[in-house]
Symmetry: C2
Subunit: 310 residues, 2 copies
């Protein structure tokens, strides 16, 4: 068992199974990484909303890696144990026109900077305090399909999954697509709700450590994972949740309407402007499918933790 | 403030804003109810799988009520506080051909009986023990639209919402549609996961008590609620969760595939037959929308609590 520190300058922007490995590891080995936030430094603590319209999309998703795992073959599952996640002291989220669940409602760029320096919480306002629950938004193996692939869409190889429960102590299983797996990770979030509704979590540079193992011949069809933290969400306190619902035959429309109704509630009850409410929804609100069987109307609910309102 | 006990023989099967009230209450009043399980006694502890194909759908959803709330007018929100929920000592879930998320995969009826007599847990097998978290699957006000309406599909008036977090201590807000609100409830579940994927929770007769209040002129567009219990799920213990994922452009297909993969895992890891695995998924597995913005591929995850495997 060995430990490695990946050179922070060793990163790539696209999935590509022909990339040279940045590092070769064996089973049980640990890799320590650090990545810039999702725009690779195009957004800084001084950035204004307008700057978000100037982002070079070819510089998105700087990923640490690829890590070649000796012995990994297609058909195996790569087991990635999340050992630690430490955000730097600043993060941002915001609205990127054309992206996000409510792209039709929000056409202007918006940015919110978050002070992460206390390492435990961050504030939207003096009376809105959000506990952090960091994870890597992107963890994946190189896809089997040759060529360069944009990182935005995830796939059965993993990638930009934005699964908020891949926290310290979690174990991710990825279906190996090519010899050596060629694992990469980055796009770190200090906190994010289920859905990542405005298309950004609290995006931040982060240090993280991962341990690799193999499950030979596991033949899993898509990523799977095991969580360990309790409660599952750090926001799950005795304060409870306020939830909006939307009822109808389309899960996507329901999701949009449930979030719209939460934004309205955040305005009425907490005086938040729609843009900051939307960003708050993305940072801490959870989309749940309450029922998917009472035909023809399904219910999507959107849960806002009440512990954040101090 | 008064307390009432609704006659258990006072129930109805359809939403209809012309029904005579079973009871008239004022703000702050409490109503104690008991309802049969969703088939109104057509399913009993002796029922076999085949019996599920003989169910008379006109006898589904015996609902306690309607309760006329004095002063309630369209535009108000009816506030329903869930004071207590006590399942009887037996419940069932199963597969009803033609219904459920995986109706295409499961064409035969199947029934599972659950012993609820200890009041706290129930068993699928000696080594699979499920903590209970009861709620009323159906709580609603009479719809504005005249006529008789089948209870299966929920609507903006609430109804068959199957929201598993409407537990003791929760407060539900419903948009009043007609004078007096005409609230009814029933279809109780001893436990159910987010999604209710096989179309049945653990269906059981249950005693429940509710307190009514009004928020005049609240003008909410659809049901909203506040939860209070911590953790949100009684299954959220230090044992964590195993989760499957499905990645793709359609939330419904993803939901199906995530559940299919869990059924496969339950077979491999715990020796469950597909039918009992599907029923277990419906009883305790949670569908979450992990991300809905990484276009064109969304991720639905299905979480199985590991505390149930003893």
């Amino acid at each position: 068992m060995a430990e490695y520190r990946l050179d922070p300058n060793q990163y790539h922007f696209k999935w590509n199974n022909k990339l040279e490995p940045a590092l070769t590891v064996g089973e049980g080995d640990v890799v320590h990484c650090w990545t810039r936030e999702v725009t690779n430094g195009q957004v800084t603590p001084d950035s204004k909303a307008e700057d978000l319209t100037q982002i070079d999309f070819d510089q998105l998703y700087p990923l640490a890696g690829p890590v070649y795992v000796a012995g990994a073959e297609p058909g195996d599952a790569l087991e990635v144990e999340v050992l630690s996640l430490k955000p730097d002291d600043w993060g941002w989220n915001g609205i990127l026109p054309g992206l996000g669940l409510l792209a039709d409602d929000f056409s202007e760029p918006y940015i919110k900077h978050w002070d992460l320096s206390d390492g435990k919480t961050t504030r939207l306002r003096d009376d809105i305090v959000i506990p952090l629950q960091p994870f890597c938004g992107t963890m994946g193996v190189a896809p089997a399909e040759d060529g360069e692939h944009f990182v935005l869409p995830p796939g059965d190889f993993g990638g930009n999954m934005d699964i908020r429960h891949l926290n310290e102590g979690a174990t991710l299983l990825l279906p190996v697509q090519v010899k050596g797996a060629l694992f990469s990770a980055g796009d770190c979030h200090a906190v994010q709700g289920d859905g990542e509704v405005c298309v950004t979590g609290v995006e931040c540079p982060m240090s993280f450590s991962l341990r690799f193992n193999l499950r030979k011949g596991a033949n899993i069809p898509a990523p799977q994972f095991i969580t360990k933290r309790s409660p599952l969400s750090v926001h799950d306190t005795g304060d409870g949740y306020f939830a909006t619902t939307a009822v109808g035959p389309d899960l996507m429309e329901n999701s949009k309407n449930a979030v719209r109704r939460m934004i309205e509630w955040l305005g009425k009850e907490h005086g938040l402007q729609p843009e900051e409410a939307y960003c708050l929804c993305s940072a801490v609100g959870d989309l749940k499918i309450s029922e998917i069987v009472d035909q023809p109307n399904w219910i999507v609910s959107f849960y806002m933790p009440l512990c954040i309102f101090t």
